[in-house]
């Protein structure tokens, strides 16, 4: 399942699931463009993968022209883009009655609109290569909802409709587009999970634990490889069976 010779873009790569994905794709032999919102945010990651096969780029995911420029810079640096992992995401939780328009817009722009902009920009290169793998990081919250996360859930559910449409549009050019919906994964984002919620996951999920970023990264690696060439438009749930 080697990814040698492939160039991947991973957004939100400086921490959590994105970081694990970037490392995993790097281990598989891909060249990895590691994106984050801060200049130098991915330098330690790039050092780990190797300066010859990885580079770090700063990109404001709320800015569509910055996204276009960043993808162009990646193509200039690495020659093409074959794999795009739309992983960057933020949460601005609030109960609906108290959710501001700004909180709504921010989450929708960074989580969903950015995925649109990145995919559009990368599809050009993938169409030329007649090969592409787009993996969108959704969430079980997008499938089942979560009180206090109407914006986050909407953005994650939006990614699923987007995934299916892109799969239908670009399939004829050898490009697959799939989504991964992680459950509760041990990262900074879930560090402050209330104890009852953590208990609930441990007691309800058949696999009896929270997930690790690697649990998700390994699935992304499969979806980024030749081996998943007949899978497209799908949402793979990685939640330890929690939502069964």
């Amino acid at each position: 399942m080697s990814l040698e010779g492939r160039v991947a873009i991973v957004t939100g790569a400086s921490r959590g699931i994105g970081r694990a994905i970037a490392l995993e794709l790097g281990r598989a032999g891909a060249s990895v463009a590691c994106l984050s919102s801060r200049q130098g945010g991915c330098s330690p990651l790039v050092a780990e993968i190797g300066e010859d096969r990885a580079a770090d780029f700063a990109c404001d995911n709320a800015d569509v022209s910055a996204i276009e420029a960043t993808v162009q810079a990646v193509v200039e640096r690495f020659g093409a883009v074959h794999i795009l992992v739309n992983n960057a995401g933020v949460a601005r939780d609030a109960l609906l009655l108290r959710m501001s328009v700004e909180a709504w817009d921010e989450v929708m722009n960074v989580n969903l609109r950015a995925a649109f902009a990145f995919t559009k920009a990368c599809s050009r290169s993938m169409m030329k290569e007649r090969w592409g793998r787009i993996v969108n990081l959704s969430s079980i919250v997008g499938l089942h909802g979560q009180a206090g996360q109407a914006n986050y859930a909407a953005s994650k559910a939006g990614l699923i409709g987007f995934t299916k449409s892109v799969a239908k549009e670009l399939g004829s050019r050898g490009i697959t587009c799939n989504a991964v919906a992680p459950g509760f994964i041990e990262t900074e984002m879930t560090q402050n999970l209330p104890a009852e919620m953590r208990e609930h996951v441990l007691n309800t999920a058949p696999l009896g634990r929270l997930g690790t970023p690697d649990d998700v990264a390994k699935v992304v690696r499969f979806l980024a490889s030749d081996d998943s060439g007949y899978i497209t438009g799908q949402t793979v749930v990685v939640d330890g069976g929690l939502t069964l």
């Binding site: 050009r124 169409m127 030329k128 050019r173």
Partner: protein
Amino acid sequence: MDRNEIFEKVKKAVVEQLDVREEEITEESTFVQDLGADSLEVVEIVMALEEAFNIEIPDDEVDQIKTVGDAVNFIESKLKEKAGAE
């Protein structure tokens, strides 16, 4: 580049993208009806022409390009613009 050179280059790009014979292509040929391009192929032809001529064809202008002749006209005026600006 004169108009005929542009036409030749456009024909080449179309032959590559659409798997049609050069003899089938005239200035009046419509991409969709005559040459059988689907919507994705139209996008790919536009991309190929952008690269071949080193110009940009904005999305709203793509809609105006229905025939091979339209494409040639557009490219000709874009190249004139570029030459004028340089």
